[in-house]
Symmetry: C3
Subunit: 664 residues, 3 copies
């Protein structure tokens, strides 16, 4: 990554701190509320707000007519209150006049249906008309506010791709062709890569190529995979277009946009995007899963590594319930702080919410905020104010680098996209769930692990888990081999190593690219029907997948077998390193003992006292050690070294977090 | 309501009676069947039929060419047989020549898909082309049959909105804009009401406004709510257009159309529509729910109150199975009579079916009828004939007003529409189910309750239940306050009182408009995940919803608490009245004891002997008391006063109905 | 059927054999693989391959420009290797240049959505543009390869209708009108047949008629049924168009196309299509059902009878897992052979697979093949080679006619289509499942039964089961009556005999056309809700359906009754024959004892020793008796007459097949 080491533009001499704030939408409120807002922000400890995210309609009420007066006033008010501004370019949602004039801006979905206005983000990333109007606004914003003393950073658009990641319009088709020309050069190369000899799909002219729109049955898989890559790039390209205007006009103001690393891997390859922003920002919302806290930690961990270990900005999370899940449950006491500080532990130097004041109208009025409907005399606002105090106390942490772990979980967008395509052995496979399961096993064992993009250098890690590493181009195959031969311990799973970058199978038995490295040979995949399970001879239970596998190398040890005696888990030992393979889905409970064994052999041990392992997540930022109570019970910290910067050094409350300073 | 007190136009001096009949579709049968029809109608006791409902294609086989001869003959035949006619305007379904010539008549759904011909009701209420052709036919019908002696009433179209309630076409967009201009006057008012400062939705010209078509995510809630209101009004407007033609040409013939009050609240605000017809007609079909009889009684009760207590016309129900549910089960013995007489009990002075003779072809050939496929020698026709005799015996009831109860359940279309919008705390909330649960609790307690539209005067009721009264504009807030301060006992539930008529939250803690009246304060809503439940300290079990509530007034008594001691059910006592709040879904079994307690405090008692409560529904029309056996067991009526007009005064058969005359 | 008795064109004097092979797609592989292919084919015993199925894009890379060189080479290579070719016309999937130039070729689905290119078979059967280009290619193929010595047969297109069976485009509308004119002659006849008096659907001009596109509610049932018939005919018409070109240019080369008789009855009436090909070919894939083997046997059996008892060609099945089910499980040892030989038992004289060599790219790369990814050193290829040897051993069977059974199960496409239309008593009815249940009962009893199209002559059968024979035109009614009066034993079920060919109910009580023949009278259908069941007095359990039935004839015996004493199963005895009726779904376990009783009365007995009944399927081709082990346990064959042509005469392996020669 080549990002420049930039953070917020702040007043000279300002001491580092953990920033605190929210999206602020003053245009939804009468003028007299604004003063009250600034007063209450100071009460809560707010240091920064994101402004003007959905203000296009208000700032440019008709084409080319601008109304900046109200925003000038808000900027001044905030500055007078000592509150910095992460100022949006205001392009997130086009106003009605624009889509009425240019309906060709509206996206078209996979079924050919137009995405109409009425909500937000109803624009094609590839639309020339949209880009023209949006960039003109960006230019206005930069010109007007570039020198404003409150301006700390630019916030490009908002959650790019949240709803418009895939567009199948004619604009998209045209841009897809340009992207493909750049990727393949010659049409023959595209025909080869897409395997168009199959099903008579040979292209004789670039103009014949289309997005994978609704088809009679399974569309070409490489066409699908390339369209996914293109779609990520199309939004990245738009991000760069706004950024370039901003850099031209305000070269000293850092630029960011809020990623959405959460839940399941989104359509956008943020590991690739990170190089385009001055610092990484992320939005994260807890969702109802079997292990919601582990997912939060996983996402924060990955965000920190996408950010290259540098400080990042938690741009949005929630003080309590959201409004967009089927059923939206409020946060329990302690959850707000635990969620926030887990992000800080993984490198966030800013903790922000959507939004400052809960709306009275619109589609997000039931989304919690820093100031709820009930006002300042409320449990939520009291917790918000306490959190502000806590973050002030944690100021010394700001800027501290994350201390890498000795183990890592690899995340690969290409594999996540390709492994879940249709026409596969099973459509039940879930890439991110397998990755999360391994991460949960690390947490259960009390062993720190970094969640890192596949392009990360592996040599720093003693053990690397690469779940469902389905796409293995030659270069990656070599990297993995070099890692193992260099003493690294690689662990991978079912449906890994099968295909190259074009989703073509490597020749011969599975798992093609990794067959020799792992010393195994798979003739057929044997996915399991729903409800079926297999019991291994070590007592663990597999679901989802099995392989018809045999050992093909004398150096392979079978760590677990299926009931018929065939190998289920294998490990090939090298001079120093090793390469292990797990052929079924074991889930966190089945993975934990297996991973424990593999870590022991790799010489990696927990840094936690035995009594804390599994109950507490440990994260280290330089001198600071974060102890996060994963449970709803209190935890005794006796024996843990260091002095408390936050919380007690003796005890963690249920869902509590302690931050200790000093040597381990 | 300002409806004129009109009923059927009948021959002078005819004695009042309960009308009996069906939809009659002679055009599906050869001429020789018609004579047989009239003969069999007389056997069955039929007094009236609805005619020509789907006859457009037959009456106007090509544009402007009319073929009335066959209908003339049917009208004459019926009149000769002493059977009156509720004559349709025949516009319910446009013929193929019309939609072939004017495809712009076809509705467009939310996804942009055209609704093609091939079934029925494939027309836009707002289509100028449709209206032109339809009204021309109405004019023809009125001119030709206005003076026919068989004509007793006009039947406008059929089940307006059954399939075409929502249309997202460009015609609809244009009409929506007209409706909005009328509602808001200034665009600024619309922008304020819709909260368009949110998500950059500010309109700078009326022409930019669209129906809430498929969007990227949650559309503007007020736009959705207004579009629902508009859609109800658009169909009402069409109803009025036909009615106005009829009133112009045949001022002495009453006009009706068949509403669809059943199952769940339909898209149409019938409380609002009722003022536009000369008498209310309704269609009702029993559906497979947990308590189908209770729903039937609820709907009949509501229909009677929508009709303002005046006689109404049961235009359609079924003699046995229908054909449009996934699985269509025939009626058990007794159900046909019980269903019919429950409608009569609640004020129906006409009992009609779809349809007279079961079709041999078409999409409704498996829908039961008065004359089934098996013919007159069949159980169904024998029951039909018995019912005809019963209705003759009940002639004295005709015209008797419904006797109001001392308690009521409020029904509010605005709340039903708005409470179930998306982007809410839970998408599991069902307005009508909560209302039905309360009604079932009344039935279980043996206490009569009226189901009344929210605009009904409340002062006549000692106790009013307002379930999920989500939308509370200022005027309603005042009415409710006046009701309680005037000695009324108000009971309301979770998700009530939160928003005004624009779906904007009332300021401050929930439940905004009702906070002070109830003396409570809610900081956060806490909906329950599927499968979760809470046990209250009174032993009842809540699902779906809970509130994080506190008592905010010394006059509030906590009637039940959650496990953590926080209040779940409260009651604030006033000098004479009270205001109670139930914060979770208790279901009929949990509501019955609670409601029993609230009724006792309000001084409302059951009018039934203890042994009949819950087993029998009592309905009163003046001197006539209907005892409806809700169970499949016989019920002993001993001790009940009055003489039997129908059934035994001593005993109700399983599913049986007794009608007794005389003082209670 | 009038098919000429043609089979493959082969070298003179070649001995009859069971052909063996696969689809072969050399264009997906480099040239050097082709030699290896031919070598390995000889190893495996391959005698024939299907070639060029998806080669249009390769053969005609731009309009009118042909590249046949590679195919010439492949044809020569195969011929040199002694391998015959079933040569495709290569029209199955149009190349991108064609759909780019003529987007009006693309089908339109029921919702109005275009089916875009990107997969395969994205063409309208009724498209003039498609037909012009496709037939031009057919002409080229015939001209170039008609005399090639490798050419054994023409393979028209591929799996016609697999994805494009229903097309709702304007081309389809135009062709539908032509088809309707041919069927009805006068518009009045269509109006009568479609019952357009219902819901104002009267047509005054042919041009008003449309396919049953997305409508407001249930479309006209006869319109739906006719559109289904038309859709089958439209594809048949296209098949004939290709065939006619081939017959014109290469009159001595037989023409076939691969049907898809499997799983559930497809949209195409293959009993009608069979007359148009020189020999029948079929594709069959095992699917995950409760009794997958029974379905395979049922489909093979039906295919044999669709082929009129003459040899047929198993064009595709799989060596192991497929890729298009949600979860694709590999075949267990023995399944490959059992599947293949069961088809041979039912008359297949060719056993082929999709495909020869498993693809490295494209949407079917995870579909198994004769040469899997793992190569020749694999379990799959070893089994494939063993099967090749087995088929060589079975050469004497080739050409042997299937020996008819004494019982039959009737299959009627019209009833299958019409019985599952919407707006019926229940939407849970599944035509083919009921037919399969009866077939399973025959297998469980060890009694052979033929699965035959309804047009088959019945007189050869002692007992005929006609499950859900819903559509009974007058001619069929007479045939069934003649069959019974001639001594035949007819068994039919719920929802039979109700309607004529226009889906109009026969007059009077149900089951209209069969009421008198069965001697029963049904007033109402009483389908059962999900989860409900009824217990008959013989202990068997009914689901899905019941009838409100009474006996209407003294000659009727009630074989089983419902709990209320009403008849559930009846049998009317005639002088020699009988007519029985089963009014509920009993499933295989409930049907077996009942069917056993009915067979006993009809004098039909199992040809298997008692110990084998139910465990083994017996199929007879002349002198050859196939014993197929339906179970996963070994079966003792001791006492079975004949000498083993394949397998042991004493014992069947689990899932094993024995072929014995000699008198029974």
């Amino acid at each position: 990554m080549t990002t420049s080491p930039r953070w917020l533009r702040t007043a000279p001499g300002r001491t580092p701190r953990i920033e605190y704030g929210a999206d602020y939408n003053p245009e939804q409120w009468p003028r007299d509320v604004w003063d009250d807002d600034v007063r209450a922000m100071r009460t809560a400890g707010v240091t920064i707000v994101s402004l003007a995210i959905f203000s296009w309609g208000r700032l440019e009420p008709a084409e080319g007519e601008y109304d900046f007066g109200w925003l000038d006033e808000v900027m001044d008010l905030l500055h007078a209150g000592g509150i910095a501004v992460d100022l949006a370019t205001a392009t997130a949602s086009p106003p009605p006049w624009l889509t009425a004039k240019h309906p060709e801006i509206l996206p078209v979905d996979h079924e050919g249906r137009t995405i109409w206005p009425g909500s937000r983000q109803h624009w094609r990333p590839t639309s020339p008309a949209f880009r023209e109007h949006a960039l003109r606004l960006v230019r206005q914003m930069a010109g007007r506010y570039g020198d404003h003393p409150a301006l700390a950073a630019w916030h490009v658009s908002n959650e790019l791709g949240c709803h418009n990641a895939y567009d199948y319009s004619d604009d998209a088709a045209a841009a897809f062709r340009v992207w493909l020309r750049r990727r393949y050069g010659e049409l023959a190369a595209l025909n080869a890569a897409w395997g168009t000899a199959f099903w008579s799909q040979h292209y004789s002219d670039w103009s014949q190529i289309l997005p994978p729109r609704r088809a009679a049955t399974h569309p070409n898989p490489t066409q699908q995979l390339d369209f996914t890559r293109f779609s990520s790039d199309a939004l990245k390209d738009y991000l760069c277009a706004e950024r370039d205007v901003l850099r031209e006009l305000t070269p000293d103001v850092p630029v960011t946009t809020n990623f959405m690393i959460m839940g399941r891997l989104r359509p956008l390859d943020y590991a690739d995007w990170a190089a385009e922003v001055d610092f990484v920002a992320n939005d994260h919302y807890v969702q109802r899963t079997s292990r919601p806290f582990d997912e939060l930690s996983f996402s924060a961990n990955l965000t920190g590594n996408v950010a290259g270990g540098r400080p990042w900005f938690l741009m949005e999370h929630s003080t309590s319930a959201v409004n967009w899940q089927p059923i939206n449950v409020p946060k329990k006491p302690g959850e707000l702080e635990r969620d926030s500080l887990t992000h800080v532990a993984h490198g966030a130097d800013a903790v922000c919410f959507f939004q400052w004041r809960q709306s009275r109208a619109g589609a997000e009025k039931y989304h919690s905020a820093m100031v709820p409907h009930a006002g300042e005399d409320s449990a939520v606002f009291r917790r918000v104010t306490e959190l502000g105090e806590t973050l002030r106390r944690l100021a010394p942490v700001a800027g501290a680098g994350r201390t890498p772990a000795r183990a890592a979980v690899l995340v690969d967008w290409d594999s996540a996209w390709a492994a879940e395509l249709d026409s596969h052995p099973t459509n039940r496979l879930r890439y991110q769930q397998e990755a999360l399961d391994w991460y949960s096993a690390f947490l259960d064992l009390g062993v720190r692990a970094d969640v890192v993009p596949v392009r990360t250098g592996l040599s720093r890690y003693d053990l690397v888990v690469a779940p469902i590493l389905y796409v293995v181009p030659e270069a990656l195959r070599r990297r993995l081999e070099a890692y193992v031969r260099g003493g690294g311990h690689l662990v991978t799973t079912y449906f890994s190593g099968n295909v190259d970058e074009h989703d073509h199978l490597w020749p011969g038995a599975h798992p093609g690219a990794l067959r020799d490295l792992l010393g195994i040979r798979i003739e057929e995949f044997a996915p399991l029907p729903d409800g079926d399970q297999v019991v291994l001879d070590n007592g663990s239970v597999g679901t989802l997948w099995t392989d018809m596998m045999e050992v093909a190398d004398a150096g392979v040890e079978v760590l677990a077998r299926y009931a018929d005696g065939s190998p289920a888990v294998t490990r090939k030992a090298y001079t120093a390193g090793s390469a292990a393979y797990v052929s079924t889905r074991l889930g966190p409970d089945g993975l934990a003992p297996l991973l424990g064994d593999l870590l022991r052999r790799a010489g990696v041990e927990s840094e936690l006292p035995p009594g804390l392992r599994g109950r507490v997540e440990l994260v280290v930022r330089g001198d600071f050690r974060f102890y996060v109570n994963r449970t709803d019970e209190p935890v005794d910290l006796t024996g843990v070294p260091g002095e408390a910067l936050h919380g007690s050094a003796e005890r963690l409350e249920p869902r509590g977090v302690g931050v200790l300073r000093g040597p381990a």
